[in-house]
Symmetry: C2
Subunit: 402 residues, 2 copies
């Protein structure tokens, strides 16, 4: 069966909206990911996969984003695991739509896990900045979108990617640097009809032809022939894509097209969504400054935002809280700690104390405030070290270590 | 009113099919061009325009393709005439879809008139080879389409274009050489909806997203900012496009989009179609070797094809022909002479003698055979002189004489 024809959701399921442009849920716990796995036709990232990955990488422990099932699902990860076990080449591909100068902490997640994969597995990585997509979808000039791609590249580089193994590109610029990229895009476009993108992405007659054509631009980096300066004549090197589950439609389409072009299908690992400070009903929005912690927020702003806006799972009164304890499943401060606090022991202790009523909301928030002040502060310092020269190096098409 | 909303044809008119992929007529005289002018909403290229052009260029006589109304219609040529009169800059843009190694003599027409404009007006010229379009529309590999672009470039160069003023490009290659080209394409794509390309080009849900996106690729060279190496920061230089009337839908769309991008609208001059040897009901097809004279045909093949296949307007018997004369309006040999015989006096004499019955079909065909043998023979010789180095020079992005 075609991967681009997921099961049509019934009434009850259709409350969760998940696509590359909109994510929302009516539940305080957020999107029902089990139902989403079934609906999208992907596979849970279960203990068996985690154990196999752990065996393949040796002594390094799995990243907490994997241990805690924040990366919760996959498509076809087995061939990549086999390649890791057999020391055969593959590459990593992830990306970002540069819609705002200020990235929020949730935007870091795919890059944090991708960096971990790169460090542990020692493989090349390509990062696509879809400035063309943002120009097409947003009320934004070309110049703004192009500029944001470079600003966001600075934040991504600050995470510590290895310049010998990492190529970052703006679509607007890279298209004019590499004929093979456009060639693959047109080859993909020839395989996909309006009917298909209508079904996969919900595009309609009032959508611009740029939007309709764009999915092929996000698909093309899945194929090593789009990067001849990295892969030369190697056409059969597959990629692993860490990304949010909302990006799956692009890669369902790509996986359907790949065999027709005699190209390898991409494999994927999917993360859950990073919740807004106000609660897990919505994905965060870069356009609402209070919906998350931004990488540009000062220590004071971080403290104020969390104290004022972070949805609490605590009880209404001290007495009630001490008696009944807080609800970690909906408490945003606890949820954020799941994403960013590395120590499992400490996270367990916090969960135990908060849900038993021993820890109050104020104490929990204080832990998160200090952690995010540290993370954002360190990021700010590292970002300041990323010179224009360094950005240029990462964004120049060049051979990478394979 | 939007230029992209031409009047819907009524029943009688709808017999002539004219779009970039299909041209056919039920009349032996071919497409009814007066009705087409009305339907497309363009303007007849009349005596007033011809006189103004003649005054502007001085002593050089108008090209016979213009004198004989083979270039019969235009869109908005007045601003270009004003620029010629005021010695202000503009540029020429034409193109070709490289669908076959062998171009036929009809394929030369837009290039013949374009070369004349370049020689007379001394302006830069860009020639787009739409290998991506042919790959998308035809059952053809990327490699074939790309190769044909370079083969066709050789034929075009053989016509004698000035390398100091002419840039020829394959879309597949140029896209990877010039970021500004892709930038303009995406800017255009943002302004055009599926609804619009459905109305203008008849695209439907079963068409590939490549086809749906393509019109922006043909539109982008209308704007000087797609060629920064030629025009630098000059964004307001308009273009004049000599082309077949079947290409008008692309440029109706472009003219609608241009003001929204603050770019100049292109102006156009349109030619009629070059008829098939078998008669004017159809545009010629590169896939039927007997439908026309190809630039690769030997003298013997030219002679056989014309004698055997060229539709005759002569009468059934010698006696009848001597009495009633031939019908030049449907006689393909005479029609081909209108395209290729430069001398008006000689053409008039032939018409007079043939339609009066003094000249027989065999004599008429002999004149055409000798003329085309000469033209094709000279082309063959000139094409042989076009080295790979020369092709490379024409196809390298570089400054041109403005």
């Amino acid at each position: 069966m075609s991967e681009t024809a997921p099961r049509v959701p019934d009434e009850a399921e259709s409350e969760d909206v998940v696509n590359p442009w909109s994510v929302s849920s009516s539940s305080g716990k957020g999107v029902d990911y089990n139902k989403l796995i079934e609906r999208f036709g992907c596979t849970a990232l279960d203990d068996g996969i985690r154990q196999r990955l752990q065996s393949a990488i040796g002594d390094t422990p799995l990243h907490h984003l994997i241990r805690r099932e924040i990366f919760f699902a996959h498509r076809d990860i087995a061939p990549i695991l086999t390649r890791i076990e057999n020391k055969q080449p593959f590459f990593l591909y992830t990306g970002r739509g540069p819609s705002s100068t200020a990235m929020h902490v949730g935007h870091l997640l795919p890059f944090i896990i991708t960096k971990w994969f790169q460090d542990v597995l020692n493989v090349p990585l390509v990062i696509q900045l879809t400035d063309d997509e943002k120009f097409l979808w947003k009320d934004m000039t070309y110049e703004e979108a192009f500029h944001l791609a470079f600003e966001n590249a600075r934040d991504i580089i600050a995470l510590g990617f290895d310049p010998k193994k990492t190529f970052i590109f703006s679509n607007f610029r890279f298209m004019g640097q590499c004929p093979e990229f456009y060639q693959n895009i047109v080859k993909i476009q020839k395989c996909v009809t309006m009917n298909q993108v209508r079904g996969i992405f919900g595009f309609g007659d009032s959508d611009s032809i740029g939007k309709i054509a764009f999915p092929a631009v996000q698909a093309a980096p899945c194929f090593p022939s789009s990067f001849p300066f990295i892969f030369g004549a190697m056409k059969d090197v597959p990629c692993l894509i860490p990304c949010g589950i909302d990006q799956d439609p692009y890669f369902r389409m790509t996986r359907d097209v790949a065999p027709r072009l005699n190209y390898p299908k991409p494999s994927l690992v999917f993360s859950t969504f990073f919740p807004a400070l106000q609660g897990a009903q919505t994905k965060m929005s870069s356009s609402d400054p209070n919906s998350s912690i931004f990488l540009t927020d000062s220590d004071k702003v971080i403290k104020t935002k969390i104290n004022k806006h972070a949805f609490s799972g605590g009880k209404a009164t001290v007495e009630e809280h001490r008696l009944l304890g807080g609800d970690c499943d909906v408490d945003i401060s606890y949820q954020y700690l799941r994403f960013f606090l590395e120590s499992d022991d400490e996270l367990d202790r916090i969960k135990q104390e908060y849900s038993s009523g021993k820890m109050m909301t104020g104490e929990l928030k204080k832990i998160l405030i200090e952690l995010l002040q540290k993370i954002v502060g360190e990021h700010r310092a590292k970002r300041a070290e990323v010179t224009d020269e360094v950005v240029k190096e990462f964004m120049t098409p060049r051979p990478l270590l394979l």
